[in-house]
């Protein structure tokens, strides 16, 4: 790893809400081709950290560099355009639009300006074909014309991934992609993410420990806003601090 | 410009602000607790003024008129809440705007039907008529001073009500978590009706108090309502404290703008032009103030939620 340059570098990040230190001196990085899992008990500040990276929250101090670009001051849309592809903990879709049109929105953003006023998107092969391709990749092509509101929970998770794929991102931020999926669904998605890391590295927040241990190249453990341990799967498994603060809780 | 005149205008601004607070408090309370935007709040102001004028003129007692204004507005508020508003809490803001706009049409035209298009007159009570001498030799209408006093008392009363009483605890609980207060077994429908009627009563009181210095007519509540919106946008929607600060700010800035801007333009224009430019700009002043506040604090000075 040392010879590679990180895609995403987070240094000494802080974020407080009043007296609560949600993010407390967090540093981590993400290298090409890897899955870096971020785990921690509920309320550890994982979501806050993701939102700081995605641009929903501006950090109190510290820096986030992405592909050598300082993200400070950039909003969500600008960071997405810079190449951060994201899925949400709770599916966030344009519910009236069909699955296809949800993905088309991402293709549209990727392929240039949204300030095109005359050409109809309904017949725009430049949008439809790539979007259809993404739906195929996640196995949703048969549901392309169904409004997102009528998709099942699992299908919505798949659709979120298809949208993120369509952005051709330089890094993925996946916030609990397994949440609410059954065992079969989790297994499918695990296989999928395993391949996805070769397209772009993944910062993965996940509660499903089987998935994390199966996928992660490295793991960072967040507790009370601080990273208490970071390392390979084996290092984290063997770390007594982690067992006490986190795995112990999970086991009991 | 004499300093006495300046202070008199400042007091006028304060009086205006206090009156705006009575309006804004109800609006912001209803939004904070029930999440409802109520355009018909100005109609309740009008109801208060008409009730006061009718009763005061019939009985000759201004105090009875004031009591009637509070009772009539609170009753109208409670009826409207039960008949219409209660169905709107779960609706989106567009539905709330339209339904309460419809209520304005009904109230305004209904009042015109009953009372006609001519304004009613309501005199300042004899006890409070005439000027009073303030320290520094400033003469000021006693009645306007009384309005400031009443507004101050209401502000203190509201503070005590919300901070110290059981109703206040429920109101605060309702603001932070509607599901929880229902889970506690508090009759939330009744609570909402009470809060709405309380806001209505304050609007009615404001209408009655102002009715004695302006005319009592159909549509009188609408300009005040929009100013009250500006007030709560500045103060932070849902915050009583924000409503108080915003109201005083808007009252004073508006009054002083109308007083000072024409004089300011006289420095480099002839009087006629200065007056028209100055007064036209003065009408825009509080909206510019609102825009400035929004640039710095998009959720107002005292954001109530988050």
């Amino acid at each position: 790893m040392a010879d590679k340059k990180p895609i995403l570098t987070i240094k000494n990040l802080y974020k407080s809400f009043g007296a609560l230190k949600a993010t407390d001196d967090v540093s981590l990085d993400l290298y090409e081709g890897e899955i870096h899992a971020l785990i921690g008990p509920n309320g550890a500040g994982k979501s806050t950290l993701i939102k700081q990276i995605s641009g929903d929250y501006q950090s109190d101090s510290g820096s986030i560099h992405f592909l050598d670009q300082d993200l400070a001051g950039l909003g969500v849309a600008e960071r997405a355009r810079a190449g951060l592809g994201r899925t949400f903990q709770v599916s966030s879709l344009a519910l009236e639009f069909s699955a296809l049109r949800n993905v088309m929105l991402a293709v549209q953003s990727k392929s240039g300006s949204s300030f095109k006023f005359f050409k109809s998107v309904q017949k725009d092969a430049d949008l439809i074909e790539p979007a259809m391709q993404m739906l195929k990749e996640v196995g949703l092509e048969g549901r392309a014309d169904i409004p997102a509101a009528e998709l099942s929970h699992g299908e919505r998770r798949q659709l979120e991934v298809a949208i993120a794929l369509a952005l051709k991102p330089k890094a993925f931020l996946l916030d609990e992609p397994m949440a609410g999926l059954g065992p079969a669904g989790s297994k499918n998605l695990t296989g999928f993410l395993d391949q996805l890391r070769h397209q772009a590295p993944i910062l993965l927040v996940e509660h499903d420990m089987d998935a994390v241990f199966a996928l992660a190249d490295r793991i960072s453990v967040l507790v009370y806003g601080r990273i208490i341990a970071a390392g390979t799967v084996d290092e984290i498994r063997g770390n007594p601090l982690v067992r006490e603060a986190y795995l112990g809780e999970e086991a009991s | 410009m004499t300093s006495a005149l300046f202070i008199e205008q400042l007091l006028n601004g304060l009086q205006f602000g206090v009156m705006l607070f009575l309006m804004a408090a109800g609006l912001t309370l209803v939004f904070g607790v029930m999440g409802l935007i109520n355009l018909a709040h100005g109609a309740l102001y009008m109801v208060g003024a008409f009730a006061c004028a009718t009763v005061a003129n019939a009985t000759g007692s201004f105090s009875l008129g004031i009591a009637a204004s509070i009772a009539a507005a609170a009753a109208a508020g409670a009826i409207v809440e039960i008949a219409v508003i209660r169905r709107l809490y779960t609706r989106d803001h567009l539905d709330q705007v339209l339904a309460t706009f419809a209520l304005i049409l009904i109230f305004s035209e209904g009042t015109r039907w009953i009372f006609g298009s001519f304004p009613l007159f309501l005199d300042v009570p004899e006890l409070l008529a005439g000027p009073v001498m303030l320290p520094g030799g400033i003469q000021y209408p006693l009645y306007r001073l009384a309005i400031i006093l009443v507004g101050g008392l209401v502000a203190v009363g509201l503070y005590l009500l919300i901070a110290k009483t059981r109703l206040g605890i429920r109101i605060r609980a309702g603001e932070s978590d509607r599901a929880m207060i229902a889970a506690l077994g508090i009759d939330i429908r009744f609570l909402y009706t009470v809060v709405f009627a309380l806001g209505a009563a304050l609007a009615g009181l404001a209408g009655a108090l102002v009715g004695a210095i302006q005319s009592v007519e159909v549509g009188m509540g609408e300009p005040v309502l929009i100013l009250a919106f500006v007030v709560i946008v500045i103060g932070g929607i849902g915050s009583i404290k924000g409503a108080l600060v915003g109201a005083i700010l808007v009252g004073v800035v508006d009054t002083m703008g109308r007083f000072l801007l024409p004089q300011f333009f006289q420095i480099f224009m002839d009087n006629v032009n200065a007056n028209s430019v100055g007064s036209a700009l003065a009408t825009m002043l509080i909206y510019i103030l609102m825009a400035l506040v929004l640039i710095v604090k998009p959720k107002g000075l005292f954001p109530a939620h988050g």
């Binding site: 849309a77 050409k119 | 169905r87 419809a102 035209e109 929009i226 946008v233 929607i237």
Partner: protein, 329 residues
């Protein structure tokens, strides 16, 4: 489930009906019918403007009267100066009045659009009730300014003594003026239809449904909304210019919040987000006004009651009633 062919059929009937009425009115020697149809066309156009912001973009603007009134004042002020042979300004360059609709319309749209750019810049930083109240407040600011500014009639308004002119058309002829308004209405509806189906329209509708999703794919909702708000205001401003020519008069009531409420009523009565919704809504409104307005001077009371019932029990408006609930492919 939406029935597209039924909605298209209804739209066609609406458009055809609106076109035929003035000719029937003329043949029956009832010129007032032509005026009513023209009012429907003009008010529907104002509604089409708001519908772009409200229906497609979910922006509950309660200040569209500002743009309607500004458009009207542009028509009024240009005509006023043209008739008095006084230039509007001399420095830095001379601007003269005009009675040419073809110059007045783009200017009306320009002024409304610029106002919307400014108002939108502040109000779109907020959402929900803040947006509603702030658009209302800014419109009110322009209203009070118009009342207190004496140069163009202040509270009394500004007459347009001769209806402005259009090359090759006698605009004083009621049918001809109706046709101008009608053709503009249909052209703008077609334009809005194209917009809604474009990439821009897709982004705008996504901003209404879920702005978090839109920004996560890299499209900033603020920019999309601001452009939509400006286009929406330009359409409503154009309607205002036509209204001033129809009435041969413009006054601050075109800027008042009642006007904002009425424009919103057209959209709601017809059906939010439906292409011809504002036409249906404006037609219902004018029909209601002519029927009940003839019976009682308190007809607004009944309008309020009907509106209340529609909001509480009949969401979806007339188009929704006929063609089913809206659904977007």
């Amino acid at each position: 489930m939406v029935n597209l062919s039924r909605e298209n059929g209804f739209n066609f009937l609406l458009a055809a009906g609106l076109l035929i009425i003035p000719f029937i009115a003329q043949s029956m020697d009832e010129p007032f019918g032509i005026t009513l149809a023209t009012r429907v066309a003009v008010l529907a156009l104002a509604g089409v403007g708001l519908n772009l912001a409200l229906g497609s973009g979910g922006l509950v603007s309660f200040g569209h009267a500002a743009f309607f009134g500004l458009g009207g004042y542009v028509a009024g002020i240009l005509a006023h100066h043209a008739l008095n042979y006084e230039p509007i300004m001399l420095s830095p360059f001379e601007i003269n009045g005009t009675t040419e609709m073809l110059i007045i319309w783009p200017l009306a749209m320009l002024v409304s659009g610029l106002a919307a750019l400014l108002i939108g810049y502040f109000s779109l930083r907020t959402s929900g009730v803040y947006f509603i109240m702030i658009t209302l407040a800014f419109a009110q600011m322009i209203y009070y300014f118009a009342i207190s500014w004496p140069a163009y009639g202040g509270e009394d308004g500004l007459p347009i003594y001769l209806r402005n002119t259009f090359p090759g058309v006698n605009t004083m002829d009621p049918i001809s003026f109706f046709l101008i308004a009608y053709v503009i209405l249909l052209l703008v509806i077609a334009l809005v239809h194209v917009l809604n189906n474009s990439r821009f329209g897709a982004a705008l509708q996504a901003a209404r449904q879920n702005d978090e999703r839109l920004s996560a794919v890299g499209i900033a909702p603020f920019n999309i909304r601001l452009v939509a708000f400006v286009i929406s205001a330009m359409i409503t401003g154009l309607a205002g210019a036509l209204q001033a020519d129809l009435l041969k008069f413009v006054d601050p009531s075109a800027l008042s919040w009642h006007m904002s409420g009425e424009i919103m009523i057209f959209v709601i009565l017809g059906g939010v987000g439906r292409l011809f919704g504002p036409v249906a809504g404006a037609a219902l409104f004018i029909l209601f006004e002519s029927i009940f307005g003839g019976m009682t001077e308190y007809w607004m009371l009944f309008l309020g009651a009907v509106l209340l019932i529609v909001v509480l029990f009949a969401r979806g408006g007339l188009v929704g009633f006929i063609a089913g609930k809206a659904r977007h492919g």
